[in-house]
Symmetry: C2
Subunit: 432 residues, 2 copies
C-alpha cells in the first residue's frame, strides 16, 4: 500500500454521515485493501460546530463553512449527505465547479437535478456516485448500469419505500387501521413526522424514475408515472386481498410492452407465492427481468443509518480505485439517449381490484355492473359480504379481467354519480 | 463513440459461447454505449471447425488453433468458455503469458487454479473476469468484491447448485423418489449424464469456496468444507421436514463465529418462512449478512445459456471500460491476506434432524436416546410414526438441541452397532 491516502470531506454529519464515519473507522483495514489506499476524513461540514457528535474521528477539522472544503486542495472527493434540494444542489454545483468528485445519497436531488448535475460533472471530467440514493444498501444501481448490461431489461418490479411497506405489513399482521399504524410508526421513528412523500408514492416514484432512466436510457418524470399512495387503503382491502390469495404492496413497476414503457407506483395485489409478496417490514426488493438473464432479484434494507452508509462507502471505494471514473461516463452517455417512449397513463393495461361501500338494497350490483360493462370492463369475480352489524353499508369487491386505466377512469365518472355507492371507493391493479 | 472497437476471441463455442455471441449481436448498440466502444468477435476457436453453429457472426475467423489467437495482436481480450481443467488451465496460462486479459465462466478452474492464475495475471499486469463462474447471471462476485466492501461479512447462505435444487423441488412437489426425479432430469437435460459433482455437493462447495475466499480474504479448500450431498435423501425426509415447518435445500454456508469460519455444504432444514426456503426449481440464491448493510439477498438463474452469457458479457464490458483493470488488483491483493481460520469440521455447532429406520419393538427409542445422551446430545423433539403396512421398519425422527458435528460423529459409531437400526440413517443440520 504505497499510494497516498484518499482525503475526503463529509458535508452533513447526521444519521448517514455518522454511519459513514463509523464504517470508515471500523473497517479501515479492509477498506484500504479494497481501495488500494487509506481513506481519511479530512473535513466535516455541519451547521452547528459546537454540538458533540458520535463517531467523529479525532483530528478532523469540523467547520460550518463549505468554502473551506473548496479551498482545501488535499480533498479530492466530497461526500455530500444532506437532504432536500436546497442548498444541496448549489453545494454540489460548487464542488463540481471546484474540480471535486461527489458521492451522494440524496434521491430527491438525483431525481430532480440528476440530468443537469451529471452533464456538468461530465463536462468537467468529474463523477457523481449515487448508489445509496435508491434502495439503500442493495446494489441496484450497480446491477442496472453494470451487471445487466448484456440485457434488454423487460421489466422492473420493486418495493422501494420502506415506510409504506412497514405500514402495510403492520396493518395486516396486527389487524390495525392505517391511521393507528402510522401513529405508531411515527412514535417509533419508522415514519417521518410528515410522511406525505412516503405514503403518497412520491418517494418510490422518484426512485423508480432513477432506476428506469438508467435501465432504459430514456427520460421519466413523475408527471408520466401513474402514482397512487397507500393512504386510501383500508385494513379490509388487505384482508380481502389475502383471502383471494394476494398481498397488497406499494409496487413500483416499469414494463416494456409493444407501445412503449408503462411506469407506475401503486398499491398492487401481488400473488402470494411471488417473492415480491413476501418482503415484509421496512425492507426493499427490486426484481428485474432481463431478456438474457431472466429474472434476478435483489433485496435487503432500503434505508437506515448503516445500510445507507454501506452503499456510500462502496461509492467511496469505487472512486478510490478509479472504477467510478470509468463507470460514470457510460452512465451519462446512456442517459442521453432518447430511447423508448413512456406509455400514456390511460393506456396502462392490467387486471383490477375494485372495492366499494354500497347500500344494502336491490339493484346495486346491477347498476355498477351495467356501468362497467358499458365501458368494456369485463368482470372476473364478485364478492359481496353480508352487511356487518353496526355498519350502514355492505362491502362489494369486484375483480376485473384485463382493462385499461383509461376505461376505469371513464367508468369512475359515472360510478361517482351512483347514489348507492358511499364513502371512498378504491381501485388497485393486480400483478401477474 | 470514437474509440477503436474492442476485438475479442471466443475460445469454445458451446452453449455459453454461442449465447455470448448472440447477446453481443442482439444488444450490440446498448453494449457499445455501456462499453464506450464496439465489441467485435474477431476469432472463434473450436475443436471441430467444420460443424455449422448457431449465432456464429459473419466474417469471424473460425479456427481450431489456439496459437492463432496468441499471434493476433488485434485481440486484447480472450473469452475462454471451455469446461474442465485441461486444457483450460494451460490455455489460460498461455493467454496471460502472451499479454491477453481473460474472461471465463469455468468455476472448477477458478476454484482449483484461481490463486496461481490470479497471481500470474497480476504479475503480468493482466486481469481475469469470472463473474459467470458463480451463480450464473446473478452478480454475486461484484456484490462481494465491490458493493459490500464497507462490511465485515458475517455469513453467506446460498443455494448454488441448480440441479440439486431442481431435484429436491420435484421430489417434494410430485411425491417422487430421488432416483425417479434424477432420471427425468437427465432425460430433460436438467442434469448431466454423470451428475455426481452436482448431487454430492462438490459443485456447490467449489462455488462457496470462491465466494468465501473473496468475502473473507482467507483460503478455503474443499478439504476444509463439511460436504454432504442430496443423494442420501429420501422423499419422506422432505415430507417430514415440511410437516415440521421446514424445507430441505442443499445449503452452502460460511459463517463467522468466535472460533473462526464455519464452512459447509449440506442438505439443511430451513424454516419455511425464510426466503432461502422459497427458492424452487433450478434457481440460485445468495443471502449475505454484513455488519453494516444487514442481510442482502440476490437470486435468479444460476446456470443456463443466456443467464451465464449475460454475466460473461458484463465481464467483457467491464474489461472494455477499464473497470476490470482497477477491480482485479484489489481482488488479488485481498486474496493474499491470510485472515481468518477455518473451523475444524467436528466443531461445527447446529441443531440436527436425525432420521432412522428402526425395528418396531420395545426399548429401541431408549437405546438410541441413551447413546445420544451419553454424548451430550440433548433431544428437542421425537416423532415416531406407526409402522406402515408393507414396511418392515418404523421411522424415527429426532430433532436435537444445539450440538456439534463431532459429538454426532462419535455417537454415530455407537449407533451403528445397534441392531435395531436398519438401512441408512441420515442426519441434517437445521438452519435458524
Amino acid at each position: 500500500m504505497t499510494a497516498d491516502p484518499l482525503q475526503i470531506a463529509l458535508v452533513g454529519f447526521g444519521t448517514v454521515g455518522s454511519g459513514v464515519a463509523r464504517i470508515l473507522t471500523d473497517q479501515a483495514a479492509s477498506i484500504a485493501r479494497r481501495a488500494g489506499r487509506q481513506v481519511q476524513i479530512r473535513r466535516v461540514v455541519v451547521r452547528d460546530t459546537a454540538r458533540a457528535r458520535d463517531y467523529m474521528p479525532a483530528g478532523v477539522e469540523v467547520t460550518d463553512d463549505i468554502q473551506s472544503v473548496i479551498d482545501d486542495d488535499q480533498i479530492s472527493l466530497v461526500v455530500q449527505l444532506i437532504g432536500g434540494l436546497s442548498p444541496a444542489r448549489e453545494y454540489m454545483t460548487r464542488f463540481l465547479d471546484a474540480g471535486r468528485d461527489v458521492v451522494t445519497a440524496n434521491k430527491a436531488l438525483i431525481y430532480e437535478c440528476g440530468r443537469e448535475l451529471f452533464e456538468q460533472a461530465a463536462r468537467q471530467g468529474r463523477t457523481i456516485g449515487f448508489e445509496a440514493a435508491v434502495a439503500g444498501g442493495i446494489p441496484v444501481i450497480a446491477a442496472v448500469t453494470q451487471s445487466l448490461t448484456g440485457n434488454q431489461v423487460q421489466s422492473i418490479e420493486a418495493i422501494l419505500n420502506g415506510t409504506s411497506n412497514f405500514i402495510l405489513t403492520q396493518m395486516l399482521n396486527h389487524g390495525q387501521s392505517y391511521e393507528d399504524v402510522l401513529k405508531e410508526a411515527q412514535a417509533l421513528g419508522y415514519a417521518e413526522a410528515d410522511p406525505a412523500m412516503d405514503v403518497d408514492g412520491t418517494d418510490a416514484a422518484q426512485k423508480l424514475s432513477i432506476l428506469t432512466q438508467l435501465a432504459y436510457s430514456t427520460r421519466v418524470t413523475l408527471q408520466s408515472i401513474v402514482q397512487q399512495g397507500i393512504d386510501g387503503l383500508e385494513l379490509l382491502d388487505l384482508q380481502v386481498a389475502q383471502e383471494l390469495g394476494y398481498k397488497i404492496k406499494l409496487l413500483a413497476t416499469s414494463r416494456l410492452n409493444g407501445d412503449g414503457l408503462e411506469v407506475s407506483v401503486q398499491p398492487t395485489l401481488i400473488p402470494r407465492h411471488r417473492t415480491l409478496a413476501q418482503i415484509d417490514g421496512a425492507d426493499n426488493i427490486v426484481s428485474i427481468l432481463g431478456d438474457a438473464v431472466g429474472r434476478t432479484t435483489y433485496s435487503g434494507a432500503g434505508a437506515g443509518q448503516l445500510p445507507t452508509a454501506s452503499a456510500v462507502v462502496a461509492d467511496i471505494v469505487d472512486f478510490a480505485t478509479g472504477r467510478t471514473a470509468v463507470t460514470f461516463p457510460s452512465i451519462v452517455d446512456a442517459s442521453q439517449q432518447t430511447g423508448i417512449a413512456i406509455q400514456p397513463k390511460e393506456a396502462l393495461q392490467r387486471r383490477f381490484y375494485l372495492r366499494f361501500h354500497v347500500e344494502d338494497r336491490p339493484h346495486v350490483l346491477a347498476d355498477i355492473a351495467d356501468i362497467l360493462g358499458r365501458h368494456g370492463i369485463s368482470i372476473l369475480s364478485v364478492r359481496q359480504d353480508a352487511r356487518r352489524d353496526g355498519h350502514d353499508y355492505a362491502r362489494l369487491v369486484i375483480m376485473t379481467h384485463q382493462t385499461t386505466e383509461g376505461c376505469l377512469a371513464d367508468a369512475d365518472v359515472e360510478l361517482a354519480r351512483l347514489e348507492c355507492i358511499k364513502g371512498t371507493s378504491i381501485r388497485l391493479p393486480v400483478a401477474e
